[in-house]
Symmetry: C2
Subunit: 205 residues, 2 copies
């Protein structure tokens, strides 16, 4: 009947086999993506490749999109680290407006290079928010916006809209065809320049 003293301590910590299988699955997923492309990665195939049962795959990631989300999350940590504690203007210390611009450029670069993956994280019937990683982009943009003291009345909505302006083009409106990578790189450059001028326009007083 005894319960842990801390009512909401960490969830009991992942079991060793579970952790091992998770890295196994993520590695297998990366391989399959490289070899076959994102679209060809199936849950059955992935399970077989990793030498595990399908149930295990779903227990770990919940949904197909969940796998890609996990993969993308992992890649994102490097970017987030640069943002949180790297050198300015991306990292702390620079003027908020410059940081906004730098963040947009970095984020676009990031998404352009992982376009397939990012799109695969989209999921019809996502019960909660759910896209690329508004988890990080949105609050960060919101924070910089606030710091910039622009006198924006609707910071929450504006940060939502700017997040969409930043990520939406890559997630929603750019072709998913892997053959068009060159186009996408060019489009990315244009988006980055445009992001900068968008922010500058918003920020000037």
């Amino acid at each position: 009947m005894d319960r842990p003293l801390v009512p909401f301590g960490e969830p009991p910590a992942e079991r060793a086999d579970a952790a091992r299988n998770r890295v196994l699955l993520l590695a297998a997923a990366r391989e399959m993506i490289d070899e076959l492309g994102v679209e060809k990665v199936t849950m059955d195939g992935l399970a077989e490749r990793a030498g595990l049962g399908k149930g295990t795959v779903f227990r770990r990631f919940g949904t197909r999109a969940g796998i890609f989300r996990a993969l993308l999350d992992h890649d994102e940590h490097a970017l987030q680290a640069r943002v949180l504690s790297g050198p300015p203007p991306l990292g702390p210390g620079a003027d908020p407006v410059d940081r906004l611009i730098a963040y947009g450029r970095a984020r676009i670069d990031f998404l352009v290079g992982r376009h397939q993956l990012a799109r695969a994280t989209l999921d019809r019937k996502a019960p909660i928010p759910a896209a690329g990683s508004p988890m990080f982009s949105r609050p960060h943009i919101r924070m910089l916006l606030t710091q910039a003291r622009l006198g924006v009345p609707e910071v929450d909505s504006l940060s939502l809209q700017l997040t969409s302006a930043l990520e939406g083009p890559l997630l929603l409106y750019l072709s998913a065809d892997p053959a068009e990578d060159a186009d996408r790189t060019a489009a990315g450059r244009a988006l980055a320049d445009s992001w900068q001028s968008l922010i500058e326009r918003i920020a000037r007083r």
Copy 2:
């Protein structure tokens, strides 16, 4: 061997039975959506309800998302008509900046009221662009931006980003749960106000 005189005339015009079935299917789809919700509309169910074969449904709409796209397209015509020839500021005649603001408000209203439907038009592996209707929003925003003579260097990218800022929040980041309609209405109001101030900031010189 004779071919039509006009090399690329209309595609041969839909056969009468095909047209009849299309309206049948669209009507059935609307009913099912009202009764069961978007998520519960299946291709089999729809076919049965319309008294047709499953193959027919796919021939007409190509994909599940295609049905919802068709439904949304239909609804959009009314909005587009108001934009193209209705009274200002939404219709022609007003200042381009005012029209941008009015368009954003109208579009947000529209999408808030059809959130479920709009999200259902999203489709993994969409062969071509493919979302809500950038078909109309993007060029229209682009045109108004150009008319406003703001000296924007990247009109194409900016219009893409503004389209995302406008539609992205509804398509990507707002919960799909139909129970939260009230929240969504409030969020829509906030987005609309925020859109206005975003445009005003971009436009002021």
